[in-house]
Symmetry: C2
Subunit: 326 residues, 2 copies
Protein backbone atom coordinates (compact mmCIF):
# COMPACT_ATOMS: atom_id res chain seq x y z
CA UNK A 1 0.00 0.00 0.00
CA UNK A 2 1.32 3.40 -1.04
CA UNK A 3 2.06 5.74 1.84
CA UNK A 4 2.25 9.48 2.13
CA UNK A 5 5.99 9.15 2.72
CA UNK A 6 6.35 7.32 -0.62
CA UNK A 7 4.74 10.28 -2.34
CA UNK A 8 7.06 12.64 -0.49
CA UNK A 9 10.11 10.63 -1.52
CA UNK A 10 9.16 10.52 -5.19
CA UNK A 11 8.28 14.22 -5.26
CA UNK A 12 11.48 15.08 -3.43
CA UNK A 13 9.67 16.99 -0.68
CA UNK A 14 8.90 16.41 3.01
CA UNK A 15 5.86 14.49 4.25
CA UNK A 16 4.62 17.74 5.75
CA UNK A 17 4.63 19.36 2.35
CA UNK A 18 2.59 16.51 0.88
CA UNK A 19 0.14 16.84 3.75
CA UNK A 20 -0.12 20.56 3.14
CA UNK A 21 -0.80 20.03 -0.54
CA UNK A 22 -3.50 17.49 0.29
CA UNK A 23 -5.06 19.79 2.82
CA UNK A 24 -4.51 22.92 0.75
CA UNK A 25 -2.91 24.54 3.76
CA UNK A 26 -0.15 27.11 3.96
CA UNK A 27 1.55 28.93 1.09
CA UNK A 28 3.09 26.57 -1.41
CA UNK A 29 4.41 27.31 -4.88
CA UNK A 30 2.50 25.97 -7.88
CA UNK A 31 5.72 24.14 -8.80
CA UNK A 32 5.70 22.21 -5.51
CA UNK A 33 2.00 21.44 -5.80
CA UNK A 34 2.49 20.12 -9.35
CA UNK A 35 5.38 17.89 -8.26
CA UNK A 36 3.28 16.42 -5.42
CA UNK A 37 0.19 15.86 -7.56
CA UNK A 38 2.36 14.21 -10.25
CA UNK A 39 3.89 11.85 -7.67
CA UNK A 40 0.44 11.05 -6.26
CA UNK A 41 -0.80 10.19 -9.76
CA UNK A 42 2.23 8.12 -10.64
CA UNK A 43 1.88 6.05 -7.46
CA UNK A 44 -1.90 5.98 -7.66
CA UNK A 45 -1.94 7.35 -4.14
CA UNK A 46 -5.51 7.64 -2.90
CA UNK A 47 -5.50 8.58 0.71
CA UNK A 48 -8.79 8.50 2.52
CA UNK A 49 -7.74 11.88 3.69
CA UNK A 50 -7.60 13.23 0.15
CA UNK A 51 -11.09 12.03 -0.68
CA UNK A 52 -12.17 13.32 2.66
CA UNK A 53 -10.66 16.73 2.36
CA UNK A 54 -11.95 17.14 -1.17
CA UNK A 55 -15.41 16.49 0.21
CA UNK A 56 -14.74 18.64 3.22
CA UNK A 57 -15.25 15.56 5.36
CA UNK A 58 -14.00 15.63 8.90
CA UNK A 59 -12.90 12.63 10.94
CA UNK A 60 -14.72 14.01 14.01
CA UNK A 61 -11.78 12.77 16.08
CA UNK A 62 -9.71 15.05 18.32
CA UNK A 63 -6.31 14.03 19.66
CA UNK A 64 -5.88 14.88 23.34
CA UNK A 65 -2.25 14.77 24.52
CA UNK A 66 -1.48 15.14 28.23
CA UNK A 67 1.20 13.63 30.46
CA UNK A 68 -1.19 11.08 32.03
CA UNK A 69 -4.82 10.74 33.05
CA UNK A 70 -3.58 8.95 36.16
CA UNK A 71 -2.74 12.44 37.47
CA UNK A 72 -6.02 13.72 38.97
CA UNK A 73 -5.71 17.19 37.40
CA UNK A 74 -5.27 15.81 33.90
CA UNK A 75 -7.82 13.08 34.61
CA UNK A 76 -10.44 15.72 35.41
CA UNK A 77 -9.47 17.95 32.50
CA UNK A 78 -9.52 15.09 29.97
CA UNK A 79 -12.81 13.84 31.39
CA UNK A 80 -14.35 17.29 30.84
CA UNK A 81 -12.81 17.63 27.38
CA UNK A 82 -14.30 14.27 26.41
CA UNK A 83 -17.76 15.20 27.71
CA UNK A 84 -17.87 18.60 26.01
CA UNK A 85 -16.44 17.25 22.74
CA UNK A 86 -18.94 14.39 22.72
CA UNK A 87 -21.76 16.92 23.04
CA UNK A 88 -20.42 18.62 19.92
CA UNK A 89 -20.18 15.38 17.93
CA UNK A 90 -16.46 14.71 18.41
CA UNK A 91 -14.70 11.74 19.93
CA UNK A 92 -11.39 11.80 21.79
CA UNK A 93 -8.25 9.86 20.91
CA UNK A 94 -6.28 9.75 24.14
CA UNK A 95 -2.51 10.10 24.32
CA UNK A 96 -0.64 9.88 27.63
CA UNK A 97 2.66 11.34 26.53
CA UNK A 98 4.52 11.13 29.84
CA UNK A 99 8.26 11.30 29.23
CA UNK A 100 7.87 9.65 25.82
CA UNK A 101 8.97 11.78 22.88
CA UNK A 102 8.34 9.00 20.37
CA UNK A 103 4.77 8.71 21.47
CA UNK A 104 4.14 12.43 21.31
CA UNK A 105 5.72 12.44 17.83
CA UNK A 106 3.53 9.52 16.69
CA UNK A 107 0.41 11.43 17.68
CA UNK A 108 1.58 14.54 15.87
CA UNK A 109 2.17 12.42 12.78
CA UNK A 110 -1.42 11.23 13.00
CA UNK A 111 -2.45 14.83 12.76
CA UNK A 112 -0.19 15.40 9.80
CA UNK A 113 -1.65 12.30 8.15
CA UNK A 114 -5.04 13.88 8.71
CA UNK A 115 -6.43 11.17 10.93
CA UNK A 116 -7.75 13.64 13.48
CA UNK A 117 -9.31 17.05 12.93
CA UNK A 118 -7.22 18.74 15.59
CA UNK A 119 -5.23 18.34 18.78
CA UNK A 120 -5.43 19.68 22.32
CA UNK A 121 -2.01 19.32 23.92
CA UNK A 122 -0.66 19.87 27.40
CA UNK A 123 2.55 17.89 26.95
CA UNK A 124 5.98 19.20 26.17
CA UNK A 125 8.56 16.55 25.49
CA UNK A 126 9.22 17.75 21.97
CA UNK A 127 10.90 20.93 20.81
CA UNK A 128 8.94 23.83 19.45
CA UNK A 129 10.24 23.14 15.93
CA UNK A 130 8.32 19.87 15.76
CA UNK A 131 5.09 21.60 16.65
CA UNK A 132 5.77 24.45 14.20
CA UNK A 133 6.03 21.87 11.45
CA UNK A 134 2.54 20.43 11.97
CA UNK A 135 0.78 23.52 10.73
CA UNK A 136 -2.72 22.24 11.49
CA UNK A 137 -5.19 22.99 14.29
CA UNK A 138 -3.62 22.64 17.74
CA UNK A 139 -4.48 24.48 20.96
CA UNK A 140 -2.15 24.23 23.92
CA UNK A 141 -2.89 24.05 27.62
CA UNK A 142 -0.27 25.79 29.78
CA UNK A 143 2.64 25.04 27.42
CA UNK A 144 4.55 27.16 24.92
CA UNK A 145 4.52 24.78 21.95
CA UNK A 146 5.08 27.22 19.10
CA UNK A 147 4.49 30.87 18.23
CA UNK A 148 1.48 29.95 16.13
CA UNK A 149 -0.25 27.75 18.71
CA UNK A 150 -2.54 29.62 21.11
CA UNK A 151 -2.08 28.86 24.81
CA UNK A 152 -4.90 28.57 27.32
CA UNK A 153 -3.84 28.83 30.97
CA UNK A 154 -5.17 29.76 34.32
CA UNK A 155 -3.85 33.14 35.45
CA UNK A 156 -0.67 31.62 36.82
CA UNK A 157 0.89 34.94 37.87
CA UNK A 158 -2.12 35.99 39.94
CA UNK A 159 -2.32 32.47 41.35
CA UNK A 160 1.27 32.66 42.55
CA UNK A 161 0.64 36.11 44.02
CA UNK A 162 -2.61 35.07 45.76
CA UNK A 163 -0.97 32.03 47.33
CA UNK A 164 1.95 34.08 48.61
CA UNK A 165 -0.29 36.86 49.93
CA UNK A 166 -2.35 34.28 51.82
CA UNK A 167 0.81 32.98 53.52
CA UNK A 168 2.03 36.52 54.29
CA UNK A 169 -1.31 37.61 55.72
CA UNK A 170 -1.31 34.52 57.92
CA UNK A 171 2.02 35.63 59.39
CA UNK A 172 4.53 33.44 57.56
CA UNK A 173 7.98 35.02 57.27
CA UNK A 174 10.10 32.38 55.62
CA UNK A 175 8.11 31.30 52.59
CA UNK A 176 9.47 28.69 50.18
CA UNK A 177 8.05 27.94 46.72
CA UNK A 178 8.11 24.26 45.77
CA UNK A 179 7.61 23.74 42.03
CA UNK A 180 8.60 21.62 39.06
CA UNK A 181 11.57 22.65 36.95
CA UNK A 182 10.85 26.19 35.75
CA UNK A 183 11.44 26.68 32.01
CA UNK A 184 11.98 30.31 31.02
CA UNK A 185 9.10 30.38 28.51
CA UNK A 186 6.64 28.13 30.29
CA UNK A 187 3.34 29.71 31.41
CA UNK A 188 3.59 27.86 34.72
CA UNK A 189 6.79 29.76 35.51
CA UNK A 190 4.46 32.74 36.03
CA UNK A 191 3.49 31.14 39.35
CA UNK A 192 7.08 31.64 40.44
CA UNK A 193 7.05 35.24 39.22
CA UNK A 194 3.85 36.02 41.10
CA UNK A 195 5.39 34.49 44.23
CA UNK A 196 8.75 36.29 43.87
CA UNK A 197 7.23 39.73 43.14
CA UNK A 198 4.86 39.45 46.10
CA UNK A 199 7.69 38.48 48.46
CA UNK A 200 9.95 41.26 47.17
CA UNK A 201 7.19 43.83 47.71
CA UNK A 202 7.14 42.66 51.35
CA UNK A 203 10.96 42.92 51.57
CA UNK A 204 11.33 39.17 51.85
CA UNK A 205 13.70 36.88 49.99
CA UNK A 206 12.36 34.23 47.57
CA UNK A 207 13.55 30.69 48.31
CA UNK A 208 12.94 28.32 45.43
CA UNK A 209 12.96 24.52 45.46
CA UNK A 210 12.48 22.68 42.18
CA UNK A 211 11.66 18.97 41.83
CA UNK A 212 11.02 17.53 38.37
CA UNK A 213 7.28 16.90 37.81
CA UNK A 214 7.93 13.29 36.77
CA UNK A 215 9.84 12.37 39.96
CA UNK A 216 8.28 9.34 41.69
CA UNK A 217 6.27 10.32 44.77
CA UNK A 218 8.48 8.45 47.25
CA UNK A 219 11.63 10.18 45.96
CA UNK A 220 9.83 13.52 45.95
CA UNK A 221 8.83 12.89 49.58
CA UNK A 222 12.49 12.35 50.55
CA UNK A 223 13.50 15.59 48.86
CA UNK A 224 10.68 17.47 50.56
CA UNK A 225 11.70 16.01 53.91
CA UNK A 226 15.25 17.30 53.40
CA UNK A 227 13.93 20.70 52.29
CA UNK A 228 11.95 21.05 55.52
CA UNK A 229 14.99 20.05 57.59
CA UNK A 230 17.43 22.32 55.72
CA UNK A 231 15.30 25.44 55.20
CA UNK A 232 12.94 25.29 58.19
CA UNK A 233 10.28 27.36 56.39
CA UNK A 234 7.12 28.56 58.17
CA UNK A 235 5.20 28.72 54.89
CA UNK A 236 5.36 26.75 51.64
CA UNK A 237 3.60 27.48 48.37
CA UNK A 238 3.42 24.20 46.42
CA UNK A 239 2.61 24.73 42.74
CA UNK A 240 0.52 21.54 42.70
CA UNK A 241 -1.78 20.01 45.29
CA UNK A 242 -0.26 16.53 45.27
CA UNK A 243 3.12 17.93 46.30
CA UNK A 244 1.30 19.83 49.05
CA UNK A 245 -0.13 16.52 50.34
CA UNK A 246 3.37 15.00 50.40
CA UNK A 247 4.70 18.05 52.21
CA UNK A 248 1.98 17.81 54.86
CA UNK A 249 2.78 14.10 55.39
CA UNK A 250 6.50 14.84 55.75
CA UNK A 251 5.86 17.79 58.08
CA UNK A 252 3.80 15.51 60.32
CA UNK A 253 6.64 12.97 60.42
CA UNK A 254 8.91 15.82 61.64
CA UNK A 255 6.40 16.69 64.34
CA UNK A 256 5.50 20.02 62.76
CA UNK A 257 1.95 21.16 63.49
CA UNK A 258 -0.05 22.60 60.59
CA UNK A 259 -0.86 25.50 60.46
CA UNK A 260 0.84 26.44 63.74
CA UNK A 261 4.44 25.61 62.81
CA UNK A 262 4.05 25.43 59.05
CA UNK A 263 1.46 26.84 56.67
CA UNK A 264 0.81 25.34 53.24
CA UNK A 265 -0.93 26.52 50.08
CA UNK A 266 -1.37 24.25 47.03
CA UNK A 267 -2.38 24.83 43.43
CA UNK A 268 -5.00 23.19 41.15
CA UNK A 269 -8.03 22.69 43.40
CA UNK A 270 -9.39 19.66 41.55
CA UNK A 271 -12.70 18.15 42.53
CA UNK A 272 -10.75 15.24 44.03
CA UNK A 273 -8.85 17.60 46.34
CA UNK A 274 -11.94 19.59 47.26
CA UNK A 275 -13.87 16.39 48.01
CA UNK A 276 -11.18 14.41 49.84
CA UNK A 277 -8.83 17.13 51.15
CA UNK A 278 -11.08 20.06 51.98
CA UNK A 279 -8.51 21.01 54.66
CA UNK A 280 -6.00 22.13 52.01
CA UNK A 281 -5.75 25.84 51.25
CA UNK A 282 -5.23 26.03 47.51
CA UNK A 283 -5.52 28.04 44.31
CA UNK A 284 -8.35 26.66 42.22
CA UNK A 285 -7.94 26.52 38.46
CA UNK A 286 -11.26 26.82 36.58
CA UNK A 287 -10.93 23.38 34.96
CA UNK A 288 -14.34 23.38 33.33
CA UNK A 289 -13.80 26.83 31.80
CA UNK A 290 -10.36 25.73 30.60
CA UNK A 291 -11.90 22.70 28.86
CA UNK A 292 -14.63 24.81 27.30
CA UNK A 293 -12.23 27.45 26.00
CA UNK A 294 -9.73 24.91 24.63
CA UNK A 295 -12.53 23.28 22.63
CA UNK A 296 -14.05 26.57 21.49
CA UNK A 297 -10.71 27.78 20.11
CA UNK A 298 -9.89 24.45 18.50
CA UNK A 299 -13.25 24.22 16.74
CA UNK A 300 -12.81 27.78 15.47
CA UNK A 301 -9.47 26.83 14.01
CA UNK A 302 -10.78 23.57 12.51
CA UNK A 303 -13.54 25.55 10.80
CA UNK A 304 -11.10 28.16 9.53
CA UNK A 305 -7.38 27.40 9.66
CA UNK A 306 -6.61 31.07 9.27
CA UNK A 307 -8.88 32.45 11.99
CA UNK A 308 -7.09 35.06 14.09
CA UNK A 309 -6.66 33.88 17.67
CA UNK A 310 -4.79 35.54 20.54
CA UNK A 311 -1.44 34.00 21.48
CA UNK A 312 -2.52 33.71 25.15
CA UNK A 313 -5.82 33.25 26.98
CA UNK A 314 -5.76 33.45 30.77
CA UNK A 315 -8.64 32.37 32.97
CA UNK A 316 -9.11 33.69 36.52
CA UNK A 317 -8.16 31.62 39.58
CA UNK A 318 -9.57 31.62 43.11
CA UNK A 319 -8.06 31.18 46.55
CA UNK A 320 -9.84 28.42 48.50
CA UNK A 321 -9.24 28.88 52.21
CA UNK A 322 -8.76 25.64 54.11
CA UNK A 323 -7.16 24.74 57.43
CA UNK A 324 -3.53 24.57 56.29
CA UNK A 325 -3.25 28.35 56.63
CA UNK A 326 -4.26 30.45 59.62
CA UNK B 1 -27.30 -14.90 7.53
CA UNK B 2 -28.45 -11.32 7.46
CA UNK B 3 -27.27 -9.38 4.41
CA UNK B 4 -26.56 -5.75 3.84
CA UNK B 5 -29.56 -5.63 1.50
CA UNK B 6 -31.81 -6.80 4.34
CA UNK B 7 -30.65 -3.88 6.41
CA UNK B 8 -31.24 -1.52 3.49
CA UNK B 9 -34.77 -2.84 2.99
CA UNK B 10 -35.74 -2.51 6.65
CA UNK B 11 -34.20 0.97 6.88
CA UNK B 12 -35.87 2.02 3.63
CA UNK B 13 -32.59 3.19 2.08
CA UNK B 14 -30.29 1.93 -0.68
CA UNK B 15 -27.55 -0.66 -0.10
CA UNK B 16 -25.00 2.03 -0.96
CA UNK B 17 -26.30 4.18 1.85
CA UNK B 18 -25.94 1.31 4.34
CA UNK B 19 -22.40 0.74 3.13
CA UNK B 20 -21.62 4.41 3.55
CA UNK B 21 -22.95 4.41 7.09
CA UNK B 22 -20.88 1.31 7.91
CA UNK B 23 -17.75 2.86 6.47
CA UNK B 24 -18.52 6.37 7.70
CA UNK B 25 -18.11 7.59 4.16
CA UNK B 26 -19.85 10.45 2.35
CA UNK B 27 -22.20 13.02 3.82
CA UNK B 28 -25.27 11.51 5.43
CA UNK B 29 -27.89 13.06 7.66
CA UNK B 30 -28.09 11.97 11.28
CA UNK B 31 -31.65 10.85 10.56
CA UNK B 32 -30.43 8.43 7.87
CA UNK B 33 -27.60 7.16 10.07
CA UNK B 34 -30.03 6.55 12.94
CA UNK B 35 -32.42 4.62 10.69
CA UNK B 36 -29.60 2.40 9.44
CA UNK B 37 -28.16 1.79 12.92
CA UNK B 38 -31.62 0.89 14.20
CA UNK B 39 -32.12 -1.61 11.35
CA UNK B 40 -28.66 -3.08 11.93
CA UNK B 41 -29.42 -3.54 15.61
CA UNK B 42 -32.83 -5.02 15.00
CA UNK B 43 -31.46 -7.60 12.56
CA UNK B 44 -28.27 -8.16 14.54
CA UNK B 45 -26.35 -7.41 11.35
CA UNK B 46 -22.61 -7.96 11.61
CA UNK B 47 -20.59 -6.23 8.90
CA UNK B 48 -18.33 -8.72 7.22
CA UNK B 49 -15.14 -8.55 9.21
CA UNK B 50 -13.36 -11.03 6.99
CA UNK B 51 -13.90 -8.89 3.91
CA UNK B 52 -12.70 -5.96 5.93
CA UNK B 53 -9.52 -7.59 7.09
CA UNK B 54 -8.80 -8.83 3.57
CA UNK B 55 -8.86 -5.21 2.54
CA UNK B 56 -6.57 -4.41 5.44
CA UNK B 57 -9.31 -2.26 6.86
CA UNK B 58 -8.54 -2.50 10.54
CA UNK B 59 -8.94 0.85 12.17
CA UNK B 60 -6.32 0.18 14.87
CA UNK B 61 -8.62 2.05 17.22
CA UNK B 62 -9.94 0.55 20.46
CA UNK B 63 -12.92 2.03 22.27
CA UNK B 64 -12.38 2.25 26.03
CA UNK B 65 -15.59 2.82 28.00
CA UNK B 66 -15.38 3.55 31.74
CA UNK B 67 -17.46 5.70 34.06
CA UNK B 68 -14.85 8.50 34.21
CA UNK B 69 -11.08 8.99 34.13
CA UNK B 70 -11.56 11.64 36.81
CA UNK B 71 -11.91 8.69 39.21
CA UNK B 72 -8.32 7.74 40.16
CA UNK B 73 -8.87 4.00 39.75
CA UNK B 74 -10.24 4.35 36.23
CA UNK B 75 -7.69 7.08 35.45
CA UNK B 76 -4.86 4.68 36.28
CA UNK B 77 -6.46 1.75 34.48
CA UNK B 78 -7.16 3.78 31.31
CA UNK B 79 -3.66 5.25 31.43
CA UNK B 80 -2.19 1.74 31.51
CA UNK B 81 -4.54 0.49 28.79
CA UNK B 82 -3.47 3.39 26.58
CA UNK B 83 0.23 2.73 27.15
CA UNK B 84 0.03 -1.01 26.50
CA UNK B 85 -2.23 -0.58 23.46
CA UNK B 86 0.07 2.07 22.00
CA UNK B 87 2.98 -0.37 22.27
CA UNK B 88 0.93 -2.82 20.19
CA UNK B 89 0.06 -0.26 17.51
CA UNK B 90 -3.43 0.64 18.72
CA UNK B 91 -4.85 3.98 19.75
CA UNK B 92 -7.56 4.57 22.32
CA UNK B 93 -10.88 6.30 21.77
CA UNK B 94 -11.97 7.38 25.23
CA UNK B 95 -15.56 7.24 26.46
CA UNK B 96 -16.55 8.44 29.91
CA UNK B 97 -19.96 6.85 30.13
CA UNK B 98 -20.93 8.02 33.61
CA UNK B 99 -24.68 7.85 34.03
CA UNK B 100 -25.22 8.44 30.31
CA UNK B 101 -26.97 5.64 28.47
CA UNK B 102 -27.10 7.57 25.22
CA UNK B 103 -23.35 8.02 25.26
CA UNK B 104 -22.66 4.37 25.99
CA UNK B 105 -25.07 3.45 23.17
CA UNK B 106 -23.34 5.85 20.75
CA UNK B 107 -19.99 4.19 21.42
CA UNK B 108 -21.48 0.74 20.90
CA UNK B 109 -22.89 1.94 17.60
CA UNK B 110 -19.40 3.02 16.58
CA UNK B 111 -18.35 -0.55 17.11
CA UNK B 112 -21.28 -1.88 15.11
CA UNK B 113 -20.45 0.60 12.37
CA UNK B 114 -16.96 -0.80 12.31
CA UNK B 115 -15.18 2.35 13.37
CA UNK B 116 -13.16 0.65 16.09
CA UNK B 117 -11.64 -2.84 16.12
CA UNK B 118 -12.89 -3.66 19.59
CA UNK B 119 -14.03 -2.31 22.94
CA UNK B 120 -12.90 -2.62 26.55
CA UNK B 121 -15.80 -1.71 28.78
CA UNK B 122 -16.21 -1.21 32.51
CA UNK B 123 -19.50 0.67 32.36
CA UNK B 124 -22.98 -0.68 32.82
CA UNK B 125 -25.71 1.77 32.10
CA UNK B 126 -27.19 -0.34 29.35
CA UNK B 127 -29.00 -3.64 29.61
CA UNK B 128 -27.33 -6.90 28.67
CA UNK B 129 -29.51 -7.18 25.56
CA UNK B 130 -27.82 -4.18 23.98
CA UNK B 131 -24.39 -5.69 24.48
CA UNK B 132 -25.58 -9.10 23.21
CA UNK B 133 -26.59 -7.44 19.98
CA UNK B 134 -23.18 -6.01 19.21
CA UNK B 135 -21.64 -9.40 18.48
CA UNK B 136 -18.13 -8.05 17.94
CA UNK B 137 -15.00 -8.03 20.13
CA UNK B 138 -15.69 -6.68 23.61
CA UNK B 139 -13.98 -7.57 26.88
CA UNK B 140 -15.48 -6.40 30.15
CA UNK B 141 -13.85 -5.22 33.33
CA UNK B 142 -15.76 -6.19 36.49
CA UNK B 143 -19.18 -6.05 34.81
CA UNK B 144 -21.60 -8.70 33.59
CA UNK B 145 -22.42 -7.25 30.17
CA UNK B 146 -23.59 -10.38 28.36
CA UNK B 147 -23.10 -14.14 28.43
CA UNK B 148 -20.76 -13.96 25.45
CA UNK B 149 -18.50 -11.18 26.79
CA UNK B 150 -15.61 -12.38 28.97
CA UNK B 151 -15.16 -10.61 32.30
CA UNK B 152 -11.80 -9.71 33.82
CA UNK B 153 -11.89 -8.89 37.55
CA UNK B 154 -9.72 -8.89 40.56
CA UNK B 155 -10.60 -11.76 42.91
CA UNK B 156 -13.40 -9.81 44.55
CA UNK B 157 -14.50 -12.63 46.85
CA UNK B 158 -11.03 -13.16 48.31
CA UNK B 159 -10.60 -9.39 48.55
CA UNK B 160 -13.76 -9.09 50.64
CA UNK B 161 -12.66 -12.01 52.81
CA UNK B 162 -9.12 -10.65 53.32
CA UNK B 163 -10.42 -7.22 54.32
CA UNK B 164 -12.85 -8.72 56.80
CA UNK B 165 -10.25 -11.09 58.25
CA UNK B 166 -7.88 -8.16 58.77
CA UNK B 167 -10.54 -6.32 60.76
CA UNK B 168 -11.42 -9.44 62.78
CA UNK B 169 -7.77 -10.21 63.56
CA UNK B 170 -7.33 -6.62 64.74
CA UNK B 171 -10.13 -7.15 67.23
CA UNK B 172 -13.10 -5.45 65.57
CA UNK B 173 -16.45 -6.93 66.63
CA UNK B 174 -19.01 -4.78 64.87
CA UNK B 175 -17.90 -4.68 61.28
CA UNK B 176 -19.92 -2.82 58.64
CA UNK B 177 -19.46 -3.13 54.87
CA UNK B 178 -19.90 0.12 52.96
CA UNK B 179 -20.37 -0.46 49.23
CA UNK B 180 -22.15 0.78 46.13
CA UNK B 181 -25.52 -0.70 45.21
CA UNK B 182 -25.00 -4.47 44.91
CA UNK B 183 -26.50 -5.95 41.75
CA UNK B 184 -27.17 -9.70 41.99
CA UNK B 185 -25.00 -10.58 38.96
CA UNK B 186 -22.23 -8.03 39.37
CA UNK B 187 -18.70 -9.36 40.03
CA UNK B 188 -18.16 -6.62 42.63
CA UNK B 189 -21.00 -8.12 44.69
CA UNK B 190 -18.51 -10.91 45.43
CA UNK B 191 -16.78 -8.47 47.81
CA UNK B 192 -19.98 -8.49 49.86
CA UNK B 193 -20.11 -12.30 49.75
CA UNK B 194 -16.50 -12.61 50.91
CA UNK B 195 -17.27 -10.22 53.76
CA UNK B 196 -20.53 -11.92 54.78
CA UNK B 197 -19.11 -15.47 54.69
CA UNK B 198 -16.09 -14.47 56.76
CA UNK B 199 -18.26 -12.77 59.39
CA UNK B 200 -20.67 -15.68 59.54
CA UNK B 201 -17.76 -18.09 60.07
CA UNK B 202 -16.85 -15.94 63.09
CA UNK B 203 -20.47 -16.00 64.33
CA UNK B 204 -20.91 -12.30 63.62
CA UNK B 205 -23.76 -10.55 61.87
CA UNK B 206 -23.16 -8.76 58.54
CA UNK B 207 -24.26 -5.11 58.51
CA UNK B 208 -24.49 -3.68 55.00
CA UNK B 209 -24.64 -0.03 53.97
CA UNK B 210 -25.06 0.78 50.27
CA UNK B 211 -24.50 4.20 48.70
CA UNK B 212 -24.81 4.59 44.94
CA UNK B 213 -21.37 4.90 43.30
CA UNK B 214 -22.38 8.08 41.48
CA UNK B 215 -23.46 9.94 44.64
CA UNK B 216 -21.63 13.27 45.01
CA UNK B 217 -18.87 13.12 47.63
CA UNK B 218 -20.44 15.71 49.95
CA UNK B 219 -23.75 13.80 50.04
CA UNK B 220 -21.90 10.53 50.52
CA UNK B 221 -20.02 12.12 53.44
CA UNK B 222 -23.32 13.05 55.11
CA UNK B 223 -24.63 9.52 54.73
CA UNK B 224 -21.40 8.07 56.12
CA UNK B 225 -21.58 10.47 59.07
CA UNK B 226 -25.08 9.22 59.84
CA UNK B 227 -23.97 5.60 59.45
CA UNK B 228 -21.23 6.11 62.05
CA UNK B 229 -23.69 7.78 64.44
CA UNK B 230 -26.42 5.16 63.97
CA UNK B 231 -24.40 1.95 63.84
CA UNK B 232 -21.36 2.83 65.97
CA UNK B 233 -19.17 0.24 64.23
CA UNK B 234 -15.64 -0.51 65.41
CA UNK B 235 -14.58 -1.67 61.94
CA UNK B 236 -15.64 -0.70 58.41
CA UNK B 237 -14.74 -2.40 55.14
CA UNK B 238 -15.18 0.19 52.36
CA UNK B 239 -15.33 -1.40 48.91
CA UNK B 240 -13.43 1.57 47.43
CA UNK B 241 -10.60 3.68 48.83
CA UNK B 242 -12.19 7.07 48.20
CA UNK B 243 -15.15 6.15 50.41
CA UNK B 244 -12.62 5.04 53.02
CA UNK B 245 -11.05 8.53 52.92
CA UNK B 246 -14.47 10.14 53.41
CA UNK B 247 -15.18 7.77 56.28
CA UNK B 248 -11.89 8.65 57.99
CA UNK B 249 -12.67 12.37 57.62
CA UNK B 250 -16.13 11.92 59.11
CA UNK B 251 -14.82 9.74 61.94
CA UNK B 252 -12.34 12.47 62.85
CA UNK B 253 -15.17 15.04 62.95
CA UNK B 254 -16.94 12.75 65.43
CA UNK B 255 -13.81 12.59 67.58
CA UNK B 256 -13.22 8.91 66.82
CA UNK B 257 -9.55 7.87 66.92
CA UNK B 258 -8.30 5.62 64.14
CA UNK B 259 -7.44 2.75 64.64
CA UNK B 260 -8.24 2.85 68.38
CA UNK B 261 -11.98 3.53 68.19
CA UNK B 262 -12.55 2.62 64.56
CA UNK B 263 -10.61 0.48 62.10
CA UNK B 264 -10.90 0.92 58.35
CA UNK B 265 -9.98 -1.17 55.31
CA UNK B 266 -10.39 0.12 51.76
CA UNK B 267 -10.32 -1.49 48.31
CA UNK B 268 -8.43 -0.65 45.09
CA UNK B 269 -4.93 0.35 46.26
CA UNK B 270 -4.20 2.68 43.35
CA UNK B 271 -0.79 4.27 43.00
CA UNK B 272 -2.40 7.54 44.07
CA UNK B 273 -3.58 6.02 47.35
CA UNK B 274 -0.28 4.25 47.99
CA UNK B 275 1.65 7.46 47.30
CA UNK B 276 -0.56 9.96 49.10
CA UNK B 277 -2.40 7.83 51.67
CA UNK B 278 0.09 5.15 52.71
CA UNK B 279 -1.67 5.10 56.09
CA UNK B 280 -4.73 3.39 54.59
CA UNK B 281 -5.04 -0.38 54.98
CA UNK B 282 -6.50 -1.60 51.71
CA UNK B 283 -6.94 -4.45 49.25
CA UNK B 284 -4.78 -3.80 46.20
CA UNK B 285 -6.12 -4.73 42.78
CA UNK B 286 -3.37 -5.66 40.29
CA UNK B 287 -4.22 -2.81 37.91
CA UNK B 288 -1.34 -3.39 35.52
CA UNK B 289 -2.13 -7.12 35.23
CA UNK B 290 -5.79 -6.27 34.68
CA UNK B 291 -4.86 -3.91 31.82
CA UNK B 292 -2.53 -6.47 30.28
CA UNK B 293 -5.09 -9.27 30.43
CA UNK B 294 -7.95 -7.12 29.08
CA UNK B 295 -5.81 -6.25 26.07
CA UNK B 296 -4.52 -9.76 25.53
CA UNK B 297 -8.03 -11.19 25.44
CA UNK B 298 -9.36 -8.41 23.22
CA UNK B 299 -6.58 -8.81 20.67
CA UNK B 300 -7.19 -12.57 20.60
CA UNK B 301 -10.83 -11.94 19.83
CA UNK B 302 -10.07 -9.29 17.22
CA UNK B 303 -7.78 -11.75 15.46
CA UNK B 304 -10.37 -14.51 15.65
CA UNK B 305 -13.94 -13.62 16.55
CA UNK B 306 -14.67 -17.22 17.41
CA UNK B 307 -11.72 -17.88 19.70
CA UNK B 308 -12.78 -19.74 22.84
CA UNK B 309 -12.35 -17.59 25.94
CA UNK B 310 -13.36 -18.30 29.53
CA UNK B 311 -16.43 -16.45 30.81
CA UNK B 312 -14.47 -15.19 33.87
CA UNK B 313 -10.84 -14.33 34.59
CA UNK B 314 -9.92 -13.46 38.18
CA UNK B 315 -6.62 -11.91 39.20
CA UNK B 316 -5.23 -12.18 42.74
CA UNK B 317 -5.45 -9.31 45.22
CA UNK B 318 -3.19 -8.37 48.13
CA UNK B 319 -3.80 -6.91 51.56
CA UNK B 320 -1.70 -3.78 52.15
CA UNK B 321 -1.33 -3.15 55.85
CA UNK B 322 -1.43 0.50 56.82
CA UNK B 323 -2.16 2.37 60.04
CA UNK B 324 -5.97 2.36 59.85
CA UNK B 325 -6.01 -1.15 61.30
CA UNK B 326 -4.21 -2.36 64.42
Amino acid sequence: MVKLTDVAKLAGVSATTVSRVINNYGSLSQHTKDKVFAAMQELNYQPNSLARSLQGKETKLIGVIFPSVSNPFFGELVSLLESHLFAKGYKVILCNSAENKEKERAYLQMLIANQVDGIIAGAHNLGIAEYERVGLPIISFDRALSNTIPIVSSDNYTGGALATEALLKAGAKKIVILSGINQPNSPTTERLNGYADTLKAADLQPITAEIDFHTAANIKALKIHQLLVDQKPDGVFCTDDLSALLLINEAQKLGLAIPTDLQVVGYDGTKLIQDYHPELTTIMQPIDDIATLLIDLLLQRIKDHHVALQPRYQLPVKLINGQTTR
